[in-house]
Amino acid sequence: MKRLNLIAAAALTIMATATAMPTGLRAADTVSLPCVCELSGAGAVSGTNYRDGAKMAAEEINAAGGILGKKIVMTDYDTQSDAQTSRALVQKAIDAEAYAIIGTVYSGSTIVNMLVAQQNGVPQFTGSEAPNVTRQGNPYIFATSSSSAKGVPGLTPYFKDTLKAKKIGVAWVNNEFGKGGHDVFVNEMKGAGITVVADVPSEQGQADFAADVSKIKESGAEAVFVYLNEEEAARFLKEAKKQGLKAPLVGEVTLTSQKVIDLAGDAANGAYAHVGITVGANVPAVQEFGKKFKQKYSRDTDHNGLKGYIAVYAVKYVTEMNGSLDQEALAKKLHGLTLDVAKYPGMLLTTSWDKTGEMSRESFMTQVVDGKQKVIGTVPAN
């Protein structure tokens, strides 16, 4: 038996060595834009949309001649929604000569793997919206949508001037995504002189929102900020309807998304949300994108599809501005750059990046009316 042990140990050492086969070298006439995304696990929906949006852009660009005449090669790396795996995969993608990294969407993953991209000087286009991603002073990270640090302040005038709320409740999911939004929001409210009377964290995947809604109801909040993932948002809306919560429910990005409307049914009617970019926006280019996406993948996308799409176009435009496949130049050029949609149609909306890689563009206030997301106002870029 002991001998067997040893043989097994030796065999698997060989196996381990064999795993370590060198990965193929990049052919010089292509541009590698690996997509490191959540293709399985809890983040699979967001990650898959992000990837498919990016894929669609890559195919369009390749059909039109590629980047500087070179075709884009996009390889998938599935992080399984796990931070440590994502770190290893970003490393793997960089070992395989990535020009830029597309992904990841989970903030928890991006925080980890962006260090690797930074160490190797590879620009990275993340789908994450947690504000601390762009606050690390990492010159290689670029957001593809406004983080909650930009999005949430966009809501402040709405609460203050439109709803005229003095007391407010906040329901948020207690993970790095929710906590980021929550912290920004509470800070903003303090600045605006609005009291947060109910501060209710919930677990990711929580099913029973009876206690959460009841606490907000009891607190006498005049409006509620709902910062939850889609399923939880839908459950919250259902419970709010059941308990007859009258205060307006206002969210950031997710609350009026089609998914939440599908899941919550009529309970979603009347909910408000500030969205960075939405297929429902009254912008022909964006609506056109939504149609193309549906045609290609026979399903609707959320905003993550748009984010992946513009990430790849941004790489193309800026690289061609620089005239060479220079990673450092790409990163440098992006800081403080504005891509005007008139000149760069692939961006769908005029988009700018600041010195931290945070992005900014026109955004929208939406409301669910009769089971449809309706744009009720535009919030200018800040």
Binding site: A207, D208, K259
Partner: protein, 294 residues
């Protein structure tokens, strides 16, 4: 007061569904010493059978029946026949390896649903819908009451079946003293099979009741499985009413904690309860130390 009542009633309604999953868990433990770590997935899966059946154009009641039949076959018969039985037959397979096999089964079912149906949460039709009542300021929906009634009704029926019928008593004999059951001529294999089928049916019912709130999603089983497990141990691993009490207790306690104590640590409460029970009263609140012990 209104808030207390609200939270209490909501907790009972949710807890009653936990109880269904916990009872199945307890039954399997008693009859086949199987700690089923895939119990949560057993609750997750039937909802997708309903969605598939409805996707084929069947009306809801028919789809429910089809899903029930398929679940009982797959999660009851096939589970026993293909996994538990061969492992029980081998010398070392009954303990830890079976635990590992059910854990792997949980991943298998979860990932299978994700790949073949989709990763996104799906809307799911309500079994019972209707208005709501105002009870001393608390809003109670007809659905909540129906859940509570259905769960309690099933528990009563199940208890009656086990105590008042010969087959039920033969099942008890098989669980409590299988060797004797065998020499008395009880068809123990069949009784164990019945237990697996009942477990699958209970999980399916829990699935029908809870999915309208949970929404159908491949990952639903993770939390449910853990709760069923905790409810079963807290209530008493060898008692049906123990599992019922455990489920209700956790449903209520979860909401009460979130409302009055701490929302950050709400998930900790069932776990702390679990540890306290194990150290203080390992047979569970309503469990008996006689018969099979854990």
């Amino acid at each position: 007061m209104a808030q207390f009542l609200q939270v209490l009633l909501s907790g009972l309604a949710t807890g009653s569904i936990y109880a269904l999953a916990a009872i199945g868990f307890t039954l399997l433990w008693q009859a086949a010493q199987t700690v089923n770590f895939a119990q949560g997935e057993f609750v997750m899966l039937p909802a997708f059978f309903v969605l598939i059946a409805m996707g084929l154009g069947l009306p809801l009641p028919v789809a429910l029946l089809v899903a029930l039949a398929v679940s009982v076959f797959v999660l009851g018969y096939l589970f026993k026949r293909l996994i538990v039985e061969p492992m029980k037959a081998s010398k070392t397979g009954g303990g830890l390896p079976l635990v590992i096999a059910t854990m792997s089964l949980a991943i298998f079912l979860k990932e299978g649903v994700k790949e073949f149906y989709g990763a996104e949460a799906q809307p799911y039709p309500e079994l019972v819908s209707g208005g709501s009542w105002d009870v001393f300021g608390a809003i109670v929906s007809v659905t909540d009451i129906a859940h509570l009634a259905i769960s309690l009704g099933v528990v009563v029926l199940l208890t009656l079946f086990l105590n008042r019928t010969r087959t039920g008593r033969a099942m008890q004999a098989t669980a409590q003293n299988p060797d004797v059951a065998k020499i008395l001529g009880v068809d123990t294999k069949r009784m164990v099979l019945y237990t697996f089928l009942i477990n699958a049916a209970l999980a399916t019912l829990a699935s029908f009741l809870i999915t309208p709130f949970y929404l159908a999603k491949f990952s639903n089983g993770e939390y449910l499985g853990l709760i069923a497990f905790i409810a079963a141990i807290v209530g008493g691993f060898n008692q049906i009413r123990g599992a019922l009490a455990g489920g209700l207790l956790i449903g209520v306690l979860d909401n009460m904690t979130a409302t009055y104590v701490t929302a950050e640590y709400r998930a900790a409460v069932p776990l702390v309860l679990l540890i306290v029970i194990i150290l203080w009263r390992p047979e569970g609140l309503l469990g008996t130390s006689e018969g099979r012990s854990v």
